[in-house]
């Protein structure tokens, strides 16, 4: 099956001449959850806006469900729901009206039963007759999601859905994403919360300065780039790493109370055994040893640093 979203050689240059996307290629598979990670200003919102029709690509092609988003925008956009990063809502409007409006706008005929289930799923049903202005920030975010889901999209874009929301909403959001995935909805979310990507994504894309650095299966990525760290606490502090241990590239931390050794779990030999022997040889006493798996966050920071270097 061809990818449901295909981004081919897309560049986006804003009017001021700023190149926000450079020769971007991305294929999003039907039914997957893709997390796009990147620092502020990386081009995440620009990429989403270009796919959804808010801004036109300077060059390249984008297809959704096989339909070109420019020449066949009607068919392409019918499939797409967008939850924008900013809370863009009319303050004086009523919740139910604005959701009904969204459904109509996307060409769907009225279906209040469906809207009721969408609002219930988002714990908004009690607020259906409230004005937007009366809602809290988290509730407004839910209204945006309800609007996007009102027309039953096959592809849902969530642009930083959990930025600045409380823990409860974040958990609700993750549960919602899970339900949508079971219905076969493809979900693309941008975030700077690595834990979010780690918790719910199937694949992770890393974008920085308008370039997609990689897109990879989350588990593979963790395994490939996964490094472990071993923290060795010493009985007595050291003022410097002994020369005899130079080849291990140890880091001295906590004013010399501990040393940190990082190693690749997939390497043939981790070097742990020889390190422990050599520590003893150097006359250092061990108080405790801990190991830690590096997270997506570490990977992400490493990637972005490498790209900027």
């Amino acid at each position: 099956m061809p990818a449901i979203v295909q981004v081919e050689n897309v560049t986006k240059t804003y009017d001021g001449g700023f190149e926000a996307l450079r020769n971007t290629n991305l294929e999003i598979e039907q039914g997957e959850i893709l997390a796009l990670l990147g620092p502020n200003g990386a081009g995440k919102t620009t990429l989403i806006s270009t796919i959804c029709g808010l801004s036109a690509p300077t060059s390249g092609h984008i297809r959704v469900g096989g339909h070109d988003v420019v020449s066949d925008f009607r068919e392409a956009r019918k499939l797409v729901g967008l939850v924008p990063q900013e809370i863009n809502l009319e303050p004086f409007e009523f919740v139910m009206n604005t959701v009904r409006f969204s459904r109509g706008l996307f060409g769907k005929s009225r279906n209040d039963a469906l809207l009721e289930s969408v609002l219930r799923d988002l714990s908004l049903w009690d607020k259906r007759n409230a004005r937007i202005a009366e809602l809290s920030g988290g509730m407004k975010r839910r209204v945006l999601i309800a609007k996007a889901l009102s027309h039953e999209p096959r592809v849902l874009f969530l642009d930083e859905p959990t930025a600045g929301v409380d823990v409860e909403l974040r958990k609700d959001m993750w549960a919602l994403v899970d339900r949508l995935r079971q219905d076969g909805v493809t979900i693309i979310l941008t975030t700077h919360y690595i834990e979010e990507a780690e918790a719910i994504a199937d694949r992770v894309g890393v974008i920085n300065k308008g370039e997609i650095l990689l897109v990879e299966d989350k588990a593979d990525l963790l395994a490939r780039m996964g490094r472990k760290e071993m923290r060795i606490e010493l009985t007595e502090t050291v003022s410097a790493v002994p020369l005899s241990l130079k080849k291990y590239d140890l880091a001295r931390v906590d004013d010399g109370a501990a040393l940190v050794y990082s190693y690749d779990t997939r390497g043939e030999r981790t070097g742990i055994t020889s390190l422990l022997t050599d520590l003893q040889g150097a006359g250092l006493g061990l108080k405790d040893v801990q190991t830690r798996q590096s997270s997506l966050e570490d990977i992400f920071v490493t990637l972005v640093q490498e790209a900027s270097a």
Binding site: C52, L54, S55, F73, R77, L82, L89, F101, F106, G107
Partner: protein, 253 residues
């Protein structure tokens, strides 16, 4: 055609109007009544008739035009400026709806509101003066063409404007003077010849004149000229709107 989409925009815009229905209706009725008192009763008592029509009745078409023009501009410009201002335009831009359909929704709603207000003013004026409408079909034709064309102009202004000041600038600086100098409250035959010639460059004159003809059968300029002017103006606005959407002018990044 995305009919549901057009209907959604149209309904949403009309709901805004009906939500503030009292304000929407009271203010034009009040100002019209004031015009009747000031121009019709006070000044009109010193002018017997203009071209065989009592002065009070003579100003009715002009009064309706004045309100309809302002309302069309205000409603349409606000209707599209507001979503741009608060950011809800994202939804319109990402929806499977063509620019033509967007225009039909917004301009249709703005023109409908102006039509409703025009009708209310006409009804109000029946309470003040005796009027009969000689060409009801053409009266409706002129009225609706005016509503549509000025709503289109309002739509263009709403897209062009970057601030609320700019939004109010064009109606204030351009349209109000044109309406007042366009023979709303007098026949241009009452002006010195030089001003008569200058007035012929005022597009609003053609609207008011044609509209007044549909009531009383008399006009400042030939009815055909009025018809050509209003259709020409509508076409021009349509062309500009088409260009705006083709280029994404002030809509897309």
């Amino acid at each position: 055609m995305n009919w549901n989409g057009i209907r959604a925009i149209y309904r949403f815009e009309m709901a805004r109007f009906f939500r503030s229905i009292i304000q929407s209706i009271v203010s034009p009725v009040l100002s019209t009544s004031l015009y009747f008192v000031v121009f019709g009763a006070a000044i009109g008592s010193r002018i017997d008739s203009v071209e065989g029509v009592s002065y009070g009745a003579f100003i009715v078409p002009g009064l309706i035009m004045l309100s309809v023009l302002t309302q069309s501009l205000q409603n349409a410009s606000f209707g599209i400026y507001f979503p741009k201002f608060i950011g809800t335009i994202y939804e319109i831009l990402s929806a499977p709806i063509s620019s033509l359909e967007i225009v039909i929704g917004y301009v249709g709603a703005a023109a409908s509101k102006a039509m409703i207000i025009g009708s209310i003013i006409l009804t109000t004026s029946f309470f003040f003066v005796d009027i009969s409408i000689q060409h009801p079909f053409w009266m409706l034709a002129f009225l609706s063409l005016t509503c549509v064309s000025f709503s289109l102009l309002g739509f263009i202004i709403g897209i062009w404007a970057r601030s609320f000041e700019q939004l109010n600038l064009v109606p204030l600086l351009v349209v109000t003077p044109l309406v007042f100098l366009g023979g709303s409250f007098y026949s241009i035959t009452m002006l010195p010849p030089i001003w008569q010639s200058i007035s012929l460059f005022n597009p609003v004159l053609y609207l008011v004149s044609g509209f007044r003809w549909s009531f009383f059968g008399t006009s400042d300029v030939p009815v055909v000229a009025s018809l050509i002017a209003i259709t020409g103006f509508t076409t021009l606005c349509l062309f500009i709107v088409w260009w705006i959407f083709r280029t994404g002018y002030r809509l897309k990044a």
